[in-house]
Symmetry: C2
Subunit: 467 residues, 2 copies
Amino acid sequence: MSKLINSINEAIKQSGLKSGMTISFHHHLRNGDFVMNAVVDEIAKLGIKDITINASSFFDAHAPIIEHIKNGVVSGLECSYMSGRIGVAVSSGILDKPVIFRSHGGRPADIISGKSHIDVAFVAAPTADKMGNCSGKYGPSACGALGYAFADAMHADHVVVITDNLVPYPLSDFSINETYIDAVVKVDKIGDPAGIVSGTTKITRDPVGLVMADYAAQTIKHSGLLKDGFSFQTGAGGASLAAANYLKDIMLAEKIKGSYGMGGITKYMVDMLVAGCFHTLIDVQCFDLDAVNSLRTNPGHREVTASHYASPIAKSAAVDNLDVVILGATEIDLDFNVNVHTDSSGVIMGGSGGHNDTAAGSKIAMIIAPLVRARLPLISDKVLCVTTPGKTVDILVTQRGIAVNPNRPELLANLKGTGLPIMDMRDLQKLALGITGTPKPITRGKKVVAEVIYRDGTKIDEIMQVI
Amino acid sequence: MSKLINSINEAIKQSGLKSGMTISFHHHLRNGDFVMNAVVDEIAKLGIKDITINASSFFDAHAPIIEHIKNGVVSGLECSYMSGRIGVAVSSGILDKPVIFRSHGGRPADIISGKSHIDVAFVAAPTADKMGNCSGKYGPSACGALGYAFADAMHADHVVVITDNLVPYPLSDFSINETYIDAVVKVDKIGDPAGIVSGTTKITRDPVGLVMADYAAQTIKHSGLLKDGFSFQTGAGGASLAAANYLKDIMLAEKIKGSYGMGGITKYMVDMLVAGCFHTLIDVQCFDLDAVNSLRTNPGHREVTASHYASPIAKSAAVDNLDVVILGATEIDLDFNVNVHTDSSGVIMGGSGGHNDTAAGSKIAMIIAPLVRARLPLISDKVLCVTTPGKTVDILVTQRGIAVNPNRPELLANLKGTGLPIMDMRDLQKLALGITGTPKPITRGKKVVAEVIYRDGTKIDEIMQVI
């Protein structure tokens, strides 16, 4: 018995995909992914139109989808993150209906609850067997965890595994199991390893970044949370990684045994696991090869589903026990609302990912960002797009000062007398505006190009066309 | 954040359990399980009545449930296997409504499809954390795999984890994850290790058993299936284990690299994995401590859910690729129908477990059993209860002769000229009757005490009251 199908084309035909349906993809192959473009090319050849793509993320590698939007093959996009040329095209108004943005926890929640129905899911699998047991840990296109693909595989009507590394049945160390899989296609390459493993996971050497990182680590040290059992997530930005590295030194010096590190996982979090700062890494996505190797070999480093990571409708998720998360921002406003969806001119270049999930779940959600970028101030009166509501954001760390959300007086009290440059948010904004001057207001079109759905299912904001 | 509840009593109250509802248990603690009795005792104290218990199996340790049937607390039983005093009591007609028997694959299929609704599932967990991530691999009551508990945990309205080994959050090597769990209760002991690890997993030294085992191994050798990629399941009976041991010798001598061994796993299957006879063990339940240790330490030894093992409604299950399964029988009839539900007098002492799942999925389903037991013949004109339909049973191996199902002429052809004592089923029956004489017909009552649901959801037989 075997589910092997000769080609993506035949697998699409067998799936019963019809015009108007929704297909899905996960983004663990990141900017190295070949699978989405290959599938949509075949859908176009079959004359199928009006397809909605629900992908956990879109990267610049998916720019060919723009042509398929123009020719009517693709009419809708849903995701948790969108960058590169596709974000620019969407911002220009290329789609008739708005993109639906969800968080990394909200996406699987809506798939599991049935709010967001997927007709055919395509799972890019670095290793698979003939029945569809599959894993991201092995093979020439190894990406590590497949956390975002579980909800799609478990709840889509039809599921196609696409692999470039077919192994004898049964694959022992499967992540997603055969009970959910309808078909398996072997192709030459599912991705480009250079693009799968991001180049962003390097510690910053920029002095401004290092100052922010030091402030961030010191803030955590004095937060009242850095003790045995401490749990932590950080992103893959250079300053965030530097902060993690400083934090590691503090934890080792003070002999603090944390419980878990979480997130998209990088070498720096792996180093913290190996050094004993945490007993567990909870991994929904690997950012670099060290993370992939660790997931494969270290029993304390565990793959989790996106639901386990961050679902707001699960009976609990790992974010619910998180102490501190370090997050980025393109903009933050006086009410601590954060934008990571658009750049300062309103063009889509990101999305929540786990941003608003971890901010909501953690005891301290810390934003670190430089006070000024490209002659534009970080702090605005009102962000162009609310990704993460200010009531869930606890503190902003910049190289010039640190602002604590007024709704966290106990955190402010803990930081008093530490020598850290605590400032009022308005004073920090004035400092920024003193450098940049008051930026010109953005003119935006009247068309809504994206709807931002908060993790609880409510629409938290809309993104307007950039003209 | 924590889901810890002080006592089973409080957890039941919190669950909203009401009279008339269905609760569930898994049986990995086997005859050492303390949890089912403890929970039902507390339900009784709370004055809740008319409860249906859906347990993957009932053992003699669950005899206290008989009193709860008499006092009206428990009014229905559903399971895949029932032995000991509870089977005797049910056979005597103690329940007003029939027991529902399903297979190990049919049970999760009905839970997942919603046919069999569970209001509150109780998961006996040898190790758990405060959020309900849990595992059977660790702790003083370690039982290994928790395969049968997944469907209950994933689909019950409310799920309570009961553990005697609470570890810091997060448990890294979880089997069932926190997203499905509502409450966690820490108790002193969830079971008796001596009863958890069965005493049955020893190779037979009985000469009759060894002859059957040799015939079984030789039959597999000549079946046409024993080649690279071979897959195999055997039960935990002494002769089956001896057959596995003989088969191991043959595979090593002939340098055959199988693909997977499966089932309830014993030391003998672990030995075959370690010796290189298989690259993977697929494990839904551990029968002995060697299996538990192997599951914990050998990456080729993998826990699977009962659905992955054998579900008839999954997109595929591991049984679908099985080459050979060795199974037992209390009775087999001229049409190769097999009974493992009752003894020869019609008293319930077993159930399908994975019997009819593996028989349906495998290329060769082999029954091995002695021709005569307790002066009663193995082969009857018609079995008292059909557990596994004869059309899925391929061959019967006894110490006196081997009968091939007439619907498998190619298997018969492969075995011709091998020196194995191939006989017609009717001749084997005559041989048995020559030893035992014609047994007295059984008198049974008119009350249906159990319904046997085949893996496809149809009622395949009924079991009558024994009077």
